[in-house]
Amino acid sequence: MDFFQRQEIARRNTRLLVVYFALAVVGIVLAIYAGAVLLVNSQMGNRTDAGGNAVLWDPQLFTCVSLVTLFIIFSSSLYKISQLSGGGSVVAEMLGGRPIDGRTADLSEQKLRNVVEEMAIASGTSVPKLYLLPDEDGINAFAAGHATGDMVICVTGGALKYLTRDELQGVIGHEFSHILNGDMRLNLRLMGIVFGILCLAIIGRVLLQTRGRKNPLPLIGLLLLLIGSIGVFFGKLIKSAVSRQREFLADAASVQFTRNPDGLANALKKVGSSGSRIDDPNAEDASHFFFANGLTESVFNWMSTHPPLEERIRELDPHWDGRFIPVAPVSNEDEAKARPRPEAPDASRQPGNLFGAQALPALAVASAAILPQIGAPTARHLDYAADVIAKIPGALTAAARDAMGAAALVYSLLLSPDEARRQTQFQKLQDDQAIASETEKLFPIVQTLESRARLPLVTLAITALRNLSAAQYAQFTTNIQSVIALNGQTDLFAYVLQKIVLRRLDPHFNPPPKRAPQYYAIKPLLPDCAVLLSALACAGQTAPADIENAFNLGAKQLDDPAHLLQLDTTACDLDKIDAALDRLNQAAPQVKKTVLAACAETVAADGVIQENEAELLRAIADTLDCPIPPFLAV
């Protein structure tokens, strides 16, 4: 099962969820109607129709009851969903989370940051925003968000205090698997929908407390509360059904990712002894997000949002003796000694041959080997990511952690290598003197970077860029767009890099756009594919015959009986590519898979994928929300 299938399943589950929800709503409306009829009949004295039977069908009452109920449920669901459209940080802040800054001086927070950054680079996603629940002593964590742009990973104070680096890595790997499987979007939707049903019970409780003689409200309240509670019960059931099966999957993916079943198993064993309860009253709403059960263990197994802990541990460690590991605060100093990692920005470190130590041979990855890798990073990718981060010059990582430095870093990554063009680009940046001079300072260091370090560096910078204010972000956007425009059509990679930055940041600053139409077939997208393939073909080769050949190799992958695909060498116009990528992003997962296969074939036209070609392909896949892990020499 590949990335695209898993995405497809996540979508199907979302649709299934809507069906469950509709069924629950119909049931609730009928139940409320039945209650209302009984109530009315008893208040009015037994009403009878002409035949002497009690009146059970009262159309007016039914319309009234169903309208009010539907209104309450839908408006509160919509309200919750719109509130959650703020992304994962809404959930984290609701539970009392505090953001962790990239430059934190706290050693355990640094440990968490490093683990998360390595995983993000290894899997090709952006670095999620980190939150800490400082007052929760249980060991737990969750990931939330709609897309790669607004992801959040939140851990409890207990997890940070009691888990070693390996165990933490296991837990974070589990959360990343949720991210890559598209579980988080599903989880947010689930939260919104169940809230609607929950609201009924809340209103019931409020009405129950009203006082007054001949006041019918408490009775109605009791009714609503009872029925709402039944609804909540079913809501929980839906939540458990959707969430439990995914936990095993995430555990398995985490092990594949870290190559270390002990890390995750030990973390779970520590959960067994310390508990994973979240004390915040809002935990119920978000129970299905957590790494381990966040609520008091339910008596009924099938009501729990998570599989039993013992079962999960046995799955990872079949020889487990059934004993949990007692928790004690982990000493970060000991761990830091055992695992030396350069932290302080070290200006003296020579930027130069960045990967000299492991000098990889020219990559020769068959394009067919690329697609299965999407969304399925392995332990080798993780090692590679750690290596890349360690070898990026300290001045650059330091810049990436700070909002202003990160902005300057992105500018310097986008600047043209051509001297004359670069001067005009600098002119554009002069609005803010400080940033301009910072950019000037970083540019020579950035020049020494190998192209495979650029995407990871951008990935690191995104976190700090989220700290810009709205006005600063607007300025930043204008600036990078004018820098790109001055680059002209010479640098496809810089253009795609810019697109990634904006795509990952935009959800944080602007409300999500209206849902665009979806494409389930490749046919309406063929012109866009033609633009993309032409651009890729032109970027990879110079001779017209080679361009033609590269284009055709890609085009062969697409089902095109009417020969709509035409090579268009003038298509390398950035505006056209921009529009094409935006439309392609609205395609269903399976369609994206075909498009990426075609891109890979075009890029690999000369038999090998060179390093810069590989990075271009990864960047394009990223704009389509398909994270490709870094290419490694086989």
């Binding site: 009015m44 509160s76 309200y79 509130q83 202003m404 400080a434 700290n467 204010s469």
Partner: protein
Amino acid sequence: MNTILMNTILIVLGIIGVGALGVIVYVIGAYNNLVSLRNRFKNAYAQIDVQLKRRYDLIPNLVETAKGYLQHERGTLDEVVAARNNASTANSKAAQNPGDADAMKQVTGAEAALTGSLGRLFAVVEAYPNLKANEEMIRLMEELTSTENKVAFARQAYNDSVMLYNTSRETFPSNLIANSFNFTAAELFIVEKPEEKQAVKVSFT
């Protein structure tokens, strides 16, 4: 007759219910919005805090380096150290309660004093060519300048988000919610004198 009465009661109840629900949803939404705006400017202050702390860490090193050369300028050096300590205390108070009017005024004043005394120190340094050429001194001053730039940038972000919060706090109808749930006004972080808006700049020509 009874049925008509029943229906009227039900319809009226329905309308009241729907109206009440609308109000409740609005109140919750406006409250959440205010909370998230407040979190945003508090986080923005945390960004300033990181850079200011970096600055406070750099100053003792700077003084230590300069000490050897500036035997006759003890006064200037002591002044810088005192101003740095003041600013550091004021900042940790402000960091605990960002936006609080008193704390912000204190930190603004202390920062202005620190910038002023640093400016005087740099003017003195100009007169000592050996110190000016000292590599450690060059590095520290360069880093101080870059940190000040970053402080200015983070301060701009903070002020932007405070403005957003204050506007939402004061405009109708969200001001009703702000008043009943005690969302107090937040203070901007403004550098007081125009000449101090300039980050400390030293030329080594």
